[in-house]
Every structure is written in structure tokens, then in C-alpha cells.
Amino acid sequence: MTGSNVLQKLYQWCEERIKWQGLLEFMKNKKVPVHNHSVWYYGGNILITFFLIQVVTGIALLFYYQPTPETAYESVRAIILETRFGWLIRSLHSWSASLMVATAFVHLFSTFFLKAYRNPRELTWMSGMLMFFAILGFGFSGYLLPWNELSYFATKVGTGIAGQTPFVGTYLKFFLRGGEEVGAATLSRFFAFHVCVLPMGLAALLAIHLILIQVHGLSVPVSLEEKKDKLKSVAFFPDFVLRECAVSCLMIAVVVSLSVLFPWELGKKADPFLATPSGIQPEWYFLFMFQALQMIPAKLGFLEGEKVGILFFILGFAFMLFVPAIDRQAEKGKKSPLFTWLGVLIGMFVVGMTLMSMIANR
């Protein structure tokens, strides 16, 4: 039996059981529109690439990591110093996490500006927004796990801010910390969120998101909606899938290069008995909130400034989540410049506050 006959038999064996020919036919008949903004279609694939890197490297790290205050830092130290290529796996995990958040911001805003949330893709947008929150949750919960000085005190500050949430703050802080202070219970909870709750949630949301994208197809900008049928297009499979694979290769090259050239630092072990050092900051993707809350005066009339700030952010996130229901013009397939400008303002606010915080900390 020749090699190609074996391949043919294997192919037929799989086809009889999985019936993938139907799926392939569906994907081949599916078209991806080609226009000036097509480049933004790759955002989702880049996110999935980083997510898969996270999953693979995260599982590898799980073999060694020990989630207790006494052993967490030492186990990460052993991963870096004693495990062959452990430093690389950890750096890949941290760099891909950071790049995943950056890509999530870009994907979110590109989809917002293209008004891809309009009818009938409201649920696609909402599932995407929920995934964005889950990604931020991954960042927040994963930051504490090495139990170093920076992550310990940043989590203390972060959970303290969560404690200022109107009405539910006290309960939320207690729930996150597992007690009054950041300690062993906090580490256990954050670990459980990071390796169990959030991955399951994100995987479920990702499945819903991808199914909805397959059902509705890729959105085109409002200005091209009328001539959608006349646009050039490529087959989803294999053309677009192969292009996405090529982009994934590029992203893997970027993340591996960053991990080798700039390995992710660990810093000093956390000492809970020390006072919070000056200049403690959260990860870069939370800086815009951190900086804005620092700039708000302690009192705004009879209200506490921090509480007002948190309420402002909750309303902002709610606006982003429910924008398909608020933007009535886009729903009718018309241009909505007001929402475009709102998006520009939100983007400028996020970038401006982040830069301000970075400069202030130098």
C-alpha cells in the first residue's frame, strides 16, 4: 500500500465519521468581502492566536506553579531558573497576555468604528464585549499569581478600588480578597478564576461569538452596505483561512522575539508587612481607570469622588455593551457620526489617561 493510498483511506475513514466535507463546502461557499477596511478582519484571528498561546503556555506553567503565598514566588523562580526553557514559557505567557489585551482594544475600537454592531449582529458585539471583560479579568487575576511586590500591592490597591463600587463595594472587595486583607485566600481565589472560571467563560463566549460570525458573515462598513453584493470577495476556505494562518505565524514570531529579547521580569518577593511602596501601578491596560480615579477630587459636592468615578466607568462599560440598542441610526443602516465621535473621545480618553499615568510614574 502506497503512502497516498493510506492518506486516501484515512481521509475516507474520517469523512465517514466526522462528515467534514459538509463543513468544508460551507466554508468554501462562504465569502469574505475585500475592501479598504478588510485589514481589520484579522483582529479576531490574532486574538485567537494569542489565546491559544496562553492556553498552551498556561498549561505548561500549571505543572510547576504552586498557589500559596509561601510557595508561589519560589515556584515561579524555579520555573525561570531551574526548568529548561521555563523562562521562555513564562515570558511567552506574559507577553501574549499583554499583546492579547492590546489587540482586544484595537479589535473593539475597529469594530466600533465600522459599526459592525448594527442589526443583525447585536449579539455578536455583546458576546465580544463580554469576552473583552473576561480578558481584562484574566489580566487582573493573573497579575497577582507570581506574588511579587508589584503584583501584591497593585492587587491590594485594585481590590481596594473595587471596594468603592457604589452599593456592592464592600461585598465585592470581600469576595475578591476572600477576607479583609490580600492573603492566601485571595491568591487561591484569583488562581481559581484564572485557570478555571475565566477560561471556561471565555471558551463558551468564544464559541457563541464564532458561531454568530459564521451565521451572519463578516460585516462591511455602513458606506459599503448598499453595494455589498458588488464587492470583490475571497473564499473563506482556504484563501482567507490560509491568510489568517500566515498572520498567526507573524504574531507568533513577534511574541517569541519579545520573549527572548525582553524576558518578562519577576521582581522581588512580596512582603505583606511592608507599607505600600510609592509608584505602585496596575498593568498598563488598567492605567486609564487608575489615573482617572486619582485625578478626581476626594469630594464632589456631597458625593465621594472615587465612587462617582467608578460609577462613571460602570456606565461607560454599560454604554459600550449596549451600544447596538442605543445607536438607532446604525441599526437602520445609516451613518451615525455622533457615535463615531463618541468612540474617538473614548479612545482619546483611554490613550491620554494611560500616557499621563506612565509619564507621572517616571
Partner: protein, 107 residues
């Protein structure tokens, strides 16, 4: 895209995944035996004054040649994927899986 190039792409894919596997396996299983526990960085840089981050950086910089090889492989793979070298449907249409070369065995 002729047959040789397709085989080349297949080799690239195998080497690429082999590289990943080669990195992952030692990381996952090397430490199971205490006797064979590798002391990767501590042996290479015994200076006790260096911090963990400095040791890590020193170790990472030693692997730049491997990084260059990895980048060459990955970027070549990206290039071939972009140029549709792995279009299995076309291969099937050309009856590649039934023991026939796409161009009748001519190179």
C-alpha cells in the same frame, strides 16, 4: 506551486512543530526526576550578586541564534501559507492524494 515546494512546506511545518515540541517537552517533564533536575541558569551564571531578572536576561540572550532560526522558519511558513502553498483542495482536485503527482511526475 510544484510538488517539491509542497514537500518543502510540509517539512517546514514538521520542523516548526518539532521546535515547539522540543521546547515544551523538556519544560513539562524534565523536572520529574530529582537526579536529572536541570539547573539551567544557576550553573551557567553562578554569580550570587545577580538578581533573578538579570540571570533570566543573561540566559535569554544566549538563545538569540535559536531565535533567528525560529524566525526564519516561522516567516518562511507564513510566506508559503500566504501564497496558498497548502491549498489541500487544489491538491485533491489534482488527485495528489490518489498517488498521482499534479504535473504527471514532471518536475
Amino acid at each position: 506551486m510544484n510538488l517539491k515546494q509542497r514537500y518543502f512546506v510540509a517539512c517546514l511545518v514538521v520542523i516548526w512543530f518539532g521546535t515547539i515540541w522540543g521546547c515544551l517537552v523538556p519544560c513539562l517533564f524534565a523536572q520529574n526526576s530529582e537526579e536529572e533536575k536541570p539547573a539551567v541558569i544557576s550553573e551557567a551564571a553562578p554569580n550570587p550578586d545577580l538578581t533573578i531578572d538579570e540571570l533570566q536576561r543573561a540566559e535569554a540572550l544566549k538563545h538569540i541564534p535559536e531565535l533567528i532560526v525560529f524566525l526564519a522558519l516561522t516567516l518562511t511558513l507564513a510566506f508559503f501559507l500566504r501564497s496558498k502553498a497548502c491549498d489541500f483542495e487544489k491538491l485533491r482536485e489534482e488527485r495528489f492524494f490518489q498517488g498521482e503527482t499534479p504535473n504527471g511526475g514532471k518536475s
